[in-house]
């Protein structure tokens, strides 16, 4: 009798049934989280409303930093570059990664070699990737030499020194590295799809594209959430590769919010202004992630 009645009762009084000592232990990680993550974050919100060079007390200036930001041409340029970056980096690495994953999904001779070769760039740090590509983009580097060899001298240019191409040149290098990562995520997703569905639709006469679009793609929804979140976060926090390749130059043409923030904060010690940029980055990331998560959860419920 009692053993049957016990479980529901325990569930109803679940919270109270947790021993006090457990709560005490839970407090420790909570305190660490608050102290090491939330407190500094809140601090930077406060700093964004001040003028501070790291010395003495910060002078509160209200919303001046934000007002200055939006009249700052370099900031607006960086914001626009971030939009280009998010679209280009996200789009290219997702499309490229998915295409590679689909192409390399079927077991075939040497497929493991291809997969590891494509994933290989991911093991390099972004700074190393940046240095590697900087050599390729040199005026006498591989890319210009190749273009010259196939008779395209007119296309040759100083990729990283030309304000029209610098951002895209860095973008290509970043995508080159990211594409292997996205491919691995999608490969994992494809492994969890049901192959019998694919076979069945093939028997029913569905073409390759139809099978992918209507059978495989819907099964990748879970992976898509992960890929989207990872890509948005990665594109907003991009810093090292741009810093290693152009430092935002020439004349701010490849500046991103993160590089501009770094320069303002750590080279010029305008910590208030830099915090304001950080707040903008934070808000942007939050908007993207929350909208997507809300949409994703709604779909899951429906």
């Amino acid at each position: 009798m009692t053993s049957v009645a016990a479980p529901p009762r325990r569930r109803r009084t679940g919270l109270r049934a947790v021993p006090k000592v457990i709560w005490f232990f839970l407090l420790i990680p909570a305190a660490v989280e608050v102290g090491m993550v939330f407190w500094p974050a809140v601090n930077s919100f406060y700093l964004s409303l001040t003028e501070w060079n790291g010395l003495g007390a910060a002078q509160p200036v209200g919303l001046d930093n934000f007002k200055n930001l939006f009249s700052d041409e370099i900031f607006r340029g960086a914001l626009w570059n971030n939009v280009i970056w998010a679209v280009g980096f996200g789009g290219l690495s997702v499309v490229g990664g998915l295409a590679l994953a689909v192409a390399l999904n079927r077991p075939r001779r040497g497929v493991g070699l291809y997969r590891s070769a494509i994933y290989l760039p991911m093991v390099f740090s972004l700074a190393v990737t940046g240095l590697f590509w900087r050599v390729q983009y040199q005026p006498d580097g591989t890319i210009n030499t190749l273009l010259g060899a196939i008779g395209l001298e007119s296309v040759e240019r100083q990729w990283l020194a030309d304000p029209d191409t610098a951002l895209y040149a860095v973008l290509i290098a970043a995508v080159w590295r990211q594409v292997g990562y996205v491919m691995v995520l999608y490969l994992a997703g494809l492994k969890s799809t049901d192959p019998t569905l694919d076979d069945a639709s093939a028997v029913d006469g569905a073409g390759a594209w139809q099978r992918f679009r209507f059978v495989t793609w819907p099964q990748l929804r879970g992976v898509n959430t992960v890929v989207f979140a990872v890509t948005v976060i990665d594109s907003l926090r991009t810093f090292d590769i741009v810093w290693a390749m152009t430092q935002g130059g020439p004349y701010h043409s490849s500046e991103l919010l993160s590089t501009y923030m770094f320069q303002q904060g750590f080279t010029f010690l305008n910590l208030g202004y830099a915090s304001a940029i950080a707040v903008v980055i934070f808000v942007l990331a939050l908007i993207f992630i929350i909208t997507y998560l809300v949409r994703a959860t709604k779909e899951e419920i429906a």
């Binding site: 020439p250 750590f266 305008n270």
Partner: protein, 425 residues
Amino acid sequence: MSSAPFSRRGFLAGIGGIGAASLLGACATGSDDSAGAASSTLTLQSSLSDPDPKAALTKVVEGYGKTPVTLNTIAIETFRAQLPTYLNSGNPPDVLTWYAGSVARDYASKGFLLDVSDLWTGSGACANFSPALKELSTADGKQIFVPTNYYWWGVFYRKSAFQEWGVQVPTTWDEFIAVCKTIKSKGVAPISMGTGSTPWVASGWFDYLNLRINGAEFHRELLAGKHSFDGPEVKTVMDHYRQLVEYIDPKGRSYSWQDAVTPLTSKKAGMNLIGAFITSGVPSDAVDDLDFFRVPIIDPSVPVAEEAPTDGYFASAKSKNTAGAKELLSYLASAPAQQQFIQLAKSSNLPTSQAVDTSTFAPLVQKGIKLLNESKAITQFFNRDSSDELQTTADTALTKFLDKPGDVNKILAEWQESAKKVLGS
């Protein structure tokens, strides 16, 4: 897996152990800082992180017997960003490496730097330094800096290359342009300049043209915000700069200053206006062939000025052992320490002490000493005479100008706009 070697309890105990150990460690170092460091050990915070200078300073510090010195070497970018924090902290490093000029004066005005005026008088270590150096190390009538070495800038070239091309060292602007023309006609880029990842080198020509046309006084005032970057004086400077643009190797836009030395040594470029640190980037077999000349005179009525960025040390005003800090500074400024440092660092830097025997130095270095002795005024460099933030406005303006010399008026107006923002803040 059934007999897990690491039980959860064991793991937790381990964590606790680590925590306790680090707490104990913190106690130990804590007491060390408050009692030990103040009385006996001095801290020397150094930004010299390149291997040769770092090894040289380590050796020099080892030779100091009076008090034990802890040498902390920090990468220069971090050092630059952290410097205000070091100086403002409760227990700051006693002595720090840095530059003379506006940055040091700025810190002095905030009261962070130790007054070392007594080293500059009587039998003090800096008493025999030149008046120009003393003026450079002075803020509000007090000396706050101890310069220990400096270097010169010049137009570097290879003697054998000039011979091959049949050109002579120019002394006037017209001769210089003629040399550029001749070198270009040989299919060689006359001027190599790495403005890619080191855009600040573009300020070298700007500084020099301004010094030659408007003089050192105007240059200093311009960088202090007393004149406008789109005024008629700067426009004349840019007119001259514009004459150079066609002779500057366009590939330099992708290079760093180090990369830009390679074409010079391989005779694919003729000249390079750069500091004496260029010798560290030239292969040893080409160093003897390397020579330099003074940036040509444009207006003979303007007193000749040269750039001579000066490095050295200052001490923190909050140092717990100011007497010890001053003694260490005196040692670092002494002739033997200067000589030892310069030789071990394998640099082409010049000693600030006149007691250093320079006769053993390379002929190139001797020529550098002569160059500076003959000049009427000394400036530092754009960033050292202003600030790193103003330097980036120059980088933006000048690299844009090198790409689009035709837009010079618009570029100068933008430069003035951004300079005003920097100087106003």
